[in-house]
Amino acid sequence: MTDTMVREMLLDADLPADESDELVGFLTSLRDSAESEQPMPDARLAALFASTAVDGNPDALDEPETDTSVVRLRRRDGRLASAAAALAISTVAATGVAAAANELPAPAQLVVSHFSQHFLPFEFPAPPPLSPSPDDSGAGQPAAPAGTREPIPVQEQPAVDPERPQGLSQQIVQPSVSDDPSIASPSTSPTGPQTSASGTPATPTATASGTASASPSGSPKDDPSGDTTSSPSDSPSAESPEPSPTGTPPVVRGGGSPSPSTTASPTLTTEGPSPTSAP
């Protein structure tokens, strides 16, 4: 910009140039101050100058190198995102198929089942209950069919066989069958003599004709022959106990007083034939 152009500016602004020497000087100093400093080209610009000087091809200026690297990075990111999405979808699908077939491990199947029950319109089967021991009756239960919510059938426990001895109390509860009604003590309660389960010897309610459980063993006074309760001579009317086909321990009847060993160890009056019941 020359002084002529500055004065032309002043004329355009309706400012007389001869009265604006200070302004002309200011604009000239502004121009000169701008020309006094030369900026240094940075690395990118210097590389651009160098590549143009070597190649002489203006096409080399079309796209800086940084743009190419950015494009490559974006492409790489897009591929990674696509691969991650495909992996996630395949994992979810495989898990769903395995859960529908009830083939996942029990904890995972349980989690998936709970999740489906709460958040999905369909439901995955629950895993079969875990059995505490291999010989448990529930271990062999077949699993529920896939895709159904039918409760798993549980094998019912067999009812208590009244003919099978279940313990001392039940053993005593069992009514004694006597061929001779006279032998049966009228005082015998249906529950029989009250025997403490803690091992305290219970006193038989009937001394002569009451029923008493026979002690199979353990008593120091047991007869090695097994005849511990009463001898035939003691109670000729006593009926010899016969082993029950169901294993019911024999019940001693008769007018003979029971030996102390009879009531000494009530805890031993458990299952199994009494030694006295041996033929």
């Binding site: 200070e22 020309e35 400093e37 080209p41």
Partner: protein, 182 residues
């Protein structure tokens, strides 16, 4: 702006490295002066960005030396406007330093007189508004005509003339006050 002719521009478009260097040496100081006068934060770095943008698109340029000059300052003006908008959205924050606190003189007139006294041209230009400053600096530093300046700032020639007139009047008034203060 010496050394930039239509022949140099044509050679630069053909890939002549010397022509490119000539263009840079002739225009870069003016561009950096314009950016500094407009208040750019880092004028030198912004000048490099302007020429990176210009040289990449140099082969598609039309209008010879005048067209190149207009295009270069158009890019520079756009960068300054972008930076100004960015500051408006996200003002730059800096720690307080008392030596740079100029609020000790509340009078704008007294401050203007002090600026005139120190002959700091850049701070005197700051007394103009953005549009007046852009028109004055483009005409002085870019050697642009009224029409070229109007093309760069996106205004009509009449609006540019009006901005130029008001800006020069303000500068003249400030200079006269400073002269009287002495």
């Amino acid at each position: 702006m010496k050394g930039v002719s239509d022949a140099v521009v044509t050679a630069a478009q053909a890939g002549d490295g010397d022509a490119l260097a000539t263009i840079y040496e002739a225009l870069a100081p003016r561009v950096m002066g314009y950016l500094r006068a407009r208040g750019a934060e880092d004028p030198e770095s912004l000048t490099n960005e302007v020429f990176l943008h210009v040289l990449v698109k140099l082969d598609r340029l039309e209008g010879g030396a005048g067209g190149l000059r207009t295009f270069v300052f158009s890019v520079a003006h756009a960068r300054v406007v972008d930076e100004t908008r960015q500051w408006a959205r996200r003002p730059a924050q800096s720690s307080y330093e008392i030596e740079y606190d100029d609020r000790r003189e509340p009078s704008a007139e007294a401050e203007a007189l002090e600026l005139v006294a120190t002959r700091d041209t850049l701070e005197l230009l700051e007394e103009l508004n953005q549009e007046q400053r852009a028109v004055i600096t483009l005409r002085v530093l870019g050697d642009l005509s009224i029409e070229e300046t109007a093309h760069v700032v996106g205004k009509s020639t009449g609006a540019v003339k009006q901005l130029q007139r008001r800006g020069l009047a303000t500068l003249r008034a400030l200079l006269e006050r400073g002269e009287q203060a002495r």
